[in-house]
């Protein structure tokens, strides 16, 4: 069927006549048909690694990226300026890419994590995990799932998240699973940009106007109680603390005087978010997209 698409590739080719100098459609990248994000990669779990443990770890890393990406995508067409709409979409896309690789890695390491679908369903493993799991089976931290607030809340959440995840990914580049270490190596560059974007806005809002400082501090105070679970889960309390202290010092902001939120698992927000995210996929378990 790809050939059918190709037959119509040049539907617009004659609009400019023979004036090739202005023709811009030359070599379009091929549209990839739906394929496994890990196609061509050897996904054998190295001896000495527990496949179930590796899958569970990749699921937690993948779910964090998926849920955070989803929250960021809710900002689309709502950002304060076009440049930020573009930047936030970029960050959401990076995280979505990480999620796809990690969910696929989890499924390849331990196929039993993938929910069963009706016989004949063409839904790939990454989508079965994203769209056909219940909220209680998601492994993400609470920081990424709480509903978004204003831009101050966004900047504070993104700074905490990107700082912890970058520290974790730097360490994961040396992981014994070559697939996970390659995913981490790719993600490090992306997360460094995410952290930089958030840190620059953090300082700008802290030192911009009275209102921007007030809103940033309100956002920071709101997400701060969720930071303890984040750094504990990623096991990066020390590295994260150093970086955050630097950013807070540059911004002239103190650590909020609020304690960590107790409990674990999820907030009420996740199932609501998933209800929206999963609605079309679940209505068509035999559908192909």
């Amino acid at each position: 069927m790809t050939a059918t698409v190709t037959d119509h590739d040049n539907a617009y080719a004659d609009l400019l006549g023979s004036d090739d100098a202005h023709w811009a459609f030359g070599h379009l990248p091929e549209i990839q048909q739906g394929e496994d994000p890990l196609a061509g990669v050897d996904t054998t779990v190295p001896a000495g690694l527990d496949p179930a443990g590796l899958a569970a770890y990749c699921l937690f890393l993948g779910d964090d990226a998926l849920v955070m990406s989803h929250r960021l995508s809710e900002w689309c067409s709502n950002a304060p300026d076009l440049e930020d709409d573009i930047a936030l979409a970029n960050i959401a896309l990076d995280l979505l890419g990480q999620a796809r690789l990690l969910l696929s890695r989890a499924a390849a390491a331990d196929p039993s994590v993938v929910p069963a679908l009706p016989e004949g369903s063409p839904v790939p493993a990454e989508d079965a995990l994203a769209f056909f799991r219940e909220a209680r089976d998601f492994r993400n931290v609470r920081l990424v799932e709480v509903p978004h607030g204003d831009f101050g809340h966004l900047v504070a959440r993104l700074l905490l998240f990107a700082t912890a995840r970058l520290a974790a990914f730097e360490r994961l580049t040396a992981h014994a699973d070559p697939v996970l270490s390659a995913i981490a190596a790719k993600g490090v560059k992306e997360l460094a940009y995410h952290r930089d974007y958030a840190a620059r806005w953090f300082v700008t809002l802290a030192q911009g106007t009275d209102e921007s400082r007030r809103r940033l501090l309100a956002g920071l105070t709101e997400v701060w109680p969720l930071q303890a679970e984040l750094v504990a889960t990623y096991d990066v309390a020390a590295e994260t603390g150093v970086v955050l202290d630097e950013v807070l010092a540059a911004a002239g902001v103190d650590r909020p005087a609020v304690g960590p939120m107790s409990g674990h698992g999820h907030t009420e927000a996740l199932s609501r978010m998933l209800a929206e995210m999963q609605v079309v996929a679940r209505a068509h378990p035999l559908g192909t997209w």
Binding site: I31, D81, L96, G208
Partner: protein, 312 residues
């Protein structure tokens, strides 16, 4: 001032550039009417990109596969990028992005009427790519040769990306048509809703298009509305056949004599209603843009204040 070139000489030089199909550049002299027409057209185009983020963005959080979610997010991001280039092109004509945004949210400038129709199913994401981006490309490819340099160059990049979006949309519909009966019905229903609004994207019939003649004389516009509409129909019919959908026009048939398809007329009364602000989503789209703009004011103010502090 004594060395100033008289206006009639400047106008002669301008006309000669247009006659040679050369580009007018930002620092060249241009008639005020040309500048105004360009600002109106380029701003309208920029606004269309920005407002166009909404109907497709509507499905971002419900895209049924991670791959489609990534494609859709990248596409909506491209639209923001197109808006950015086009606002930059208008800035070379002396109008700022901020001024144009105000004009948009106050309803003093328009955007493509197609975005005042709702997106009611995920298939609309594919249909918008196939038909709406397809129609936009027909309108926009000739603008790569438009007489104003910055606009023409922006259009080259935009058309390249639009044609990629058009293929992705078509590929989504093709994939859905290979799926379940429900998916095929979803595609047909979506095509039924978007076909006529897509034909309206070329504007009113030539006889009712007051600005066309002057815009063509200035080389801003390169083809008439009816001419482009015909091209669109002719290239879309075989694509619809390959896809396996019908186009909802009982008058649509090949005319051997003309070497082109005959087709029915869209409901031009409906078109006028939508243009005048009474379409299904006009108020919603503008209210969304206004809210985002106003909600972001404190952030933009903070950036300005912070930058000023840095340079003082």
């Amino acid at each position: 001032m004594t060395t100033t070139v008289p206006e009639d000489v400047l106008l002669q030089q301008f006309d000669a550039v247009i006659a040679r199909n050369d580009r007018i550049e930002p620092r060249d002299w241009m008639p005020e009417g040309y500048r105004k027409t360009l600002v109106r057209q380029v701003a309208q185009h920029a606004h269309s990109e920005i407002i166009g983020m909404q109907p497709e963005g509507n499905w971002l959080t419900r895209a049924p596969s991670l791959r489609r979610k990534a494609i859709l997010l990248a596409k909506v991001q491209d639209e923001a990028g197109h808006g950015l280039y086009l606002y930059s092109a208008t800035e070379t004509l002396g109008v700022s992005r901020g001024e144009l945004t105000e004009m948009l949210i106050e309803g003093r400038q328009k955007y493509s009427s197609i975005f005042n129709y709702p997106t009611l199913s995920f298939a609309d994401v594919g249909t918008i790519g196939w038909l709406v981006d397809g129609a936009a490309i027909c309108n926009q490819v000739p603008l790569c040769r438009t007489s104003y340099g910055p606009y023409g160059r922006a259009m080259i990049r935009i058309c390249k990306e639009e044609s990629f979006h058009q293929r992705q949309g078509y590929e989504l519909l093709m994939t859905m048509m290979r799926g379940t009966d429900e998916q095929r019905a979803m595609v047909q229903e979506s095509v039924d809703r978007f076909w006529w609004p897509a034909l309206m994207m070329f504007g009113p019939p030539d006889a009712d298009s007051p600005n066309t003649a002057q815009s063509m004389a200035w080389g801003i516009k390169r083809n008439t509305n009816d001419d482009l509409r015909q091209r669109f129909v002719d290239m879309t019919v075989p694509q619809a056949e390959a896809l396996g959908v019908t186009l909802p026009d009982p008058e649509l048939r090949w005319n051997e004599e003309r070497g082109a398809h005959d087709f029915g007329q869209p409901d031009w009364d409906e078109f006028m209603q939508v243009v005048q602000g009474n379409g299904p989503c006009n108020r919603q789209r503008i209210a969304h843009r206004r809210r985002a703009h106003e909600d972001g004011a404190w952030v933009r103010d903070a950036a300005t204040a912070f930058a000023a502090r840095g340079t003082s």
